[in-house]
Amino acid sequence: MDKYSLTYTAMGYPADLFLKCKLYGQEKKSVENLRLSDKNLIQFIYDEYANDLLSYGLKMGYQKEVLEDAIHDVFYKLCLSPKMLNNVSELKFYLFRALKNQLLNINKSTSKFVITDIPEFKLSVKADSLHLLIEAEEQVRIKEKINKLLQVLSDKQREIIYLRFIHEMSYDEIGELLAMTSASVRNVVYKAISKIRK
């Protein structure tokens, strides 16, 4: 972390928001001037994270229309009270958690939306652009093998891979999202590991 991002975190803004802002060219403005009501900044954060949020919601079994509204509400609340970001170290984690809570609220207020059968938590295995790295035969073999390993795992275990591997969250953060302690997340992971090794 350089000195700007330290100032940012000291001010209570998430470190990854700072990094993103830097990419976006905001670092030239003074740190104090960062405002979430800035339309360009909202656009930028939205562009960065909306797809991740949508995919995560779909994986949890919600419909696209419901998710669009929920994501909208998450961003709306964030714009109204940016102080919510105080002491959040990862913006992405904050947004995931906010979306999950928002979806639970929707479930509570309109009992129509209660999900009865939660779909399988799928992780897709693609091989589209791999040909640049390895040969076609190899590619098929690897794809099948990884797919098999993923199939052995439970939904929860795949969800943890999704959060840990694809979204790079800490075990504490994953625990909070899944309403588990980080110790029990680790337990689930160890069970997954012993399944994979067999």
Partner: protein
């Protein structure tokens, strides 16, 4: 697992090896340690390993669906216009509120002239108005007040910067020559503030709290502050100088940790909850001492320390994020916290005494919405009269 086992592996072999995938997918300590030392000892394999890392990354994908750029653009447009409307509406309510206040004052003045109002309640009213603002009082005698929630920062030489939540500068203060100066921060009900001390420690100050602290920690062997109310503090580590926090009923000593102290004199139960590290708590009255470690809480009931228990720390520190999370918490405690947070008068009948709740309340919502949410999840109803809101048990649901 032995290193030699992997010496003949190609990228394709690595990318389907269970132990390799464990490392990529779960990043456990064991696997991280193994693979980093493997790479360190066998640099000749690094090319194959890195290729395998890339393969796994490209193969296992997270996002199968995405918004189109047009979708995103129109969503952001909708969002900004909604935020704009909200802000405008807020202004209008403020205007109409101030009209009401003017009328009320007019009424009060005419009423007073008839001599009906008694002077005591009159005085109390005025005291209340001045207590609606966050105040920073300097030892030299100066005082500044703020209408909004503020962030205060002291640098190592005692210079002060005060900002609002948007980071706009509100006040700047050069340090005066008397360094040992004790300052006092008063955060009334309905307000919150944060405070960065000269040693780098950061304090979140909850509603209805007073903090006394020096501009600079001059003393070579300790750092000392006083509080009454509730704070969450991240103490900057300094093994030479322990950090001491005293409340009317007990004292907490630490080296460098993160923890929450709730010490409202009017609360029957006060507590110290540790998020990181370790603290020791001493109460003067009975010469009791307890050590509280990470994820533990010590309750102080009627100046007596009761045992240390394991808790979910976030239930006690969530207020600093604008959230109130609780687990099987007596409803009356939640009401006490809300009445401080929003500065509203909440009363309750004896019949709700035994009700406990679990859940989460968003404190950035308006108080009415929060109270309505409570009535949705527990068997209570509330009614408003002119100066308080009363909660009662309600069986009809």
């Amino acid at each position: 697992m032995k290193f030699s086992h992997y010496l003949t592996y190609t990228a394709a072999d690595f990318s389907t090896d269970p132990f390799f995938l464990e490392w990529r997918w779960f990043q456990t300590e064991e696997t991280c340690l193994f693979w980093t030392s493997f790479l360190a000892q066998h640099p000749e394999k690094s090319e194959e390993v890195l290729l395998a890392v890339k393969i796994v990354e490209m193969l296992v994908e997270g996002n199968e669906v995405s918004f189109s750029p047009q979708d995103k653009e129109s969503a952001v447009k909708k969002l900004t216009s909604r935020v704009y409307i909200h802000k405008k509406r807020k202004k209008i309510t403020v205007y109409s509120l101030s009209t009401v206040v003017v009328f009320f004052l007019f009424f009060l003045l005419t009423y007073k002239n008839t001599g009906v109002i008694n002077s005591e309640s009159d005085k109390k009213n005025f005291a209340d108005i001045s207590e609606k603002e966050v105040q920073l009082i300097f030892s030299a005698g100066g005082k500044v007040s703020f209408k909004e929630d503020i962030q205060i920062k002291y640098d190592t030489t005692g210079n002060i910067v005060v900002q609002n939540e948007l980071g706009e500068m509100l006040e700047k203060h050069e340090s005066d020559e008397t360094h040992i100066a004790l300052n006092r921060l008063i955060v009334p009900k309905g307000k919150r503030s944060s405070l960065l001390l000269a040693d780098g420690s950061k304090i979140w100050v909850n509603s209805g709290t007073t903090v006394e602290f020096p501009s600079v920690f001059e003393n070579r062997d300790e750092r000392k502050i006083k509080i009454e109310g509730e704070i969450y503090i991240e103490v900057e580590k300094d093994t030479q100088r322990p950090f001491l926090i005293s409340t009317p009923d007990f004292e907490v000593a630490v080296l460098g940790t993160k923890f929450n102290i709730s010490a409202y004199p009017e609360d029957p139960v006060q507590h110290v909850t540790v998020a990181e590290g370790m603290v020791s708590v001493v109460s003067e009255a009975k010469k009791q001492r307890n050590v509280v470690a990470q994820n533990q809480q010590l309750q102080i009931i009627d100046k007596m320390q009761s045992g240390v228990t394991h808790v979910d720390v976030y239930n006690f520190t969530s207020w600093k994020d604008g959230i109130l999370r609780f687990e099987s918490e007596p409803l009356k405690n939640i009401l006490t916290r809300l009445s401080r947070y929003y500065d509203i008068n909440l009363a309750y009948g004896d019949d709700i005494e035994s009700i406990r709740c679990s859940g989460k309340l968003y404190l950035f919502d308006e108080w009415k919405m929060v109270l309505d949410n409570i009535t949705k999840v527990s068997p209570v109803a509330y009614s408003e009269n002119e100066d308080e809101i009363i909660f009662r048990y309600n069986t009809i649901k």
